[in-house]
């Protein structure tokens, strides 16, 4: 994997597709996604792990793309919001966000949707408290969270 002068060629599996990217050892997954592959769904907010705007799924679990070195993600399955469905279809979580007006500026939305998607896979009918805990690492500056939580609870079909 190691090439000349620290440049590594990293094979990343993103949304089911293999990508071979040249990455310096310090390049983050977020930089590769946005700057190299044009997958701008993952947002760069704080770049410090605090806001959750950059959330992607690594082997189905939410992680911070801004704190993940791209080279360390080889061999894992990466899912971004672009990979949730094909074409213009929406997943149940996305549909619920639309129906509940859970999107305002949209900056936090990809991270929220991915975190919620991972939650519903583990816990198909979460209650309000479980949704709040799962989303507690994703900040939203617009919505006050209520509609987002309602959307995820509805997508799970509880109450």
């Amino acid at each position: 994997m190691r090439g000349d002068e620290g440049m590594t060629t990293v094979a990343l599996r993103i949304n089911g597709v293999e990508h071979s990217v040249a990455a310096d050892g310090r390049r983050t997954l977020l930089e590769v996604l946005r700057d190299e592959l044009g997958l701008t769904g993952a947002k760069r907010g704080c770049n410090q792990g605090v806001c959750g705007a950059c959330t992607v799924l690594l082997d189905g679990r939410p992680v911070r793309a801004c704190l993940s070195l791209a080279a360390a993600c080889a061999g894992h399955e990466i899912t971004t919001v672009e990979g949730l469905t094909e074409g213009n279809e929406l997943t149940p979580v996305q549909q619920a966000f639309v129906e509940h007006g859970a999107v305002q500026c949209g900056f936090c939305t990809p991270g929220m949707v991915l975190t919620a998607t991972a939650l519903l896979k583990e816990n198909p009918k979460p209650n309000v408290a479980e949704v709040r805990t799962a989303l507690s690492g994703n900040l939203c500056r617009c919505s006050g969270y209520r509609k987002i939580v309602d959307a995820v609870v509805a997508a799970g079909g509880a109450r």
Binding site: M1, R2, E5, G6, M7, T8, D24, G25, R26, T28, N47, Q48, G49, G52, T55, L58, R61, P62, V63, R64, C66, L67, S68, L69, A71, A72, T115, T133, A134, S136, G137, N138
Partner: protein, 285 residues
């Protein structure tokens, strides 16, 4: 340019630091990469421990000790029901760290190596009487948790040494309670208290209490604890231990709380942690 190295064994990892003395070790990366993003670290090489299979997982040993591999993420430790009795203190602390995505990334080895005094593991490991297993070019050694956390962001690790595991001694008849006071759920603690209590027919047979986030390293007063062994953990005795602990702290004024405030709340947190652990030890819950 930063070189990215992925050793497959601990021995290979140790060799990486011989070849690249300025390299930084990476476990979950949740702190190291944040520091690199902020320009606070610019290592010529990163030695990722991710591919070292022997570092992951929690394994009870026949003698009652439990080994937590350094690369075990907080999510796994927080869910490990075999961390029972007094060992449960580490599970309880893991469950209070940050939020689910950070618990998916961060590891016990990375957390204690960074040794943020406000982090959740240090006080829990001191109360658990844990031993930290480290390996370097000179071989391996075990360090008592109390001696591992030396100062602000400073551990007993020598250059080139890496944390490979945390070992917890058995305490099957004890119970644990973890108190973390936060401004908002998921934040680092204003103060934390880890308590392990064992009761024998109404008398205290083991007591270990460590306070975190109130100085450069966790504070535990073994002599004051032993004054309570054999007694009934009555309110006065607990209050004496709590106020001695508060006096021994070296808290700072920071964005989360003032030093005075920390000293005020810690005795109450100590009393609550001991009461909860005691109730659990006596089977009330």
């Amino acid at each position: 340019m930063t070189l990215f190295l992925e050793p497959r064994t601990v021995a290979e990892a140790v060799a990486c630091f011989r070849d690249h003395p300025e390299a930084r070790c990476m476990s979950g990366g949740a702190t190291l990469v944040a520091m690199m993003n902020a320009g606070l670290a610019d290592p010529p090489a990163v030695v990722s421990l991710r591919r070292i299979a022997e570092l992951v997982g929690i394994a009870p040993a026949a003698d009652g000790w439990t080994k937590i591999g350094g690369m075990t993420p907080h999510r796994v430790t927080a869910a490990e029901t075999r961390l029972a009795g007094g060992q449960a203190i580490v599970r309880l602390a893991a469950g209070r760290i940050a939020n689910p995505p950070v618990r998916n990334m961060g590891t016990i080895g990375g957390s204690i190596s960074f040794s943020d005094p406000a982090a959740d593991y240090p006080a829990a490991l001191v109360a658990a009487d844990a031993e930290i297993e480290v390996v370097g070019s000179g071989g391996g050694r075990r360090i008592a948790a109390q001696d591992f956390f030396v100062d602000w962001y400073t551990t007993a690790l020598e250059p080139g040494e890496i944390v490979v595991a945390v070992h917890l001694p058995p305490a099957p008849r004890a119970a644990a309670a973890y108190e973390k006071l936060v401004k908002t759920e998921g934040d680092m603690g204003i103060a934390t208290v880890a308590a392990v209590v064992e009761m024998d027919r109404g008398a205290c047979s083991d007591l270990r209490v460590a306070v975190g986030a109130c100085g450069p390293h966790p504070v535990r007063l073994r002599e004051s604890e032993s004054d309570l062994i054999g007694g009934r953990l009555d309110a006065d005795a607990v209050a004496r231990l709590a106020s001695r602990l508060a006096e021994a702290l070296d808290p700072v004024d920071d964005v989360r709380a003032s030093s005075d405030y920390r000293r005020k709340v810690v005795p109450r947190m100590v009393a609550r942690a001991i009461a909860t652990a005691r109730a659990r030890a006596e089977g009330e819950q």
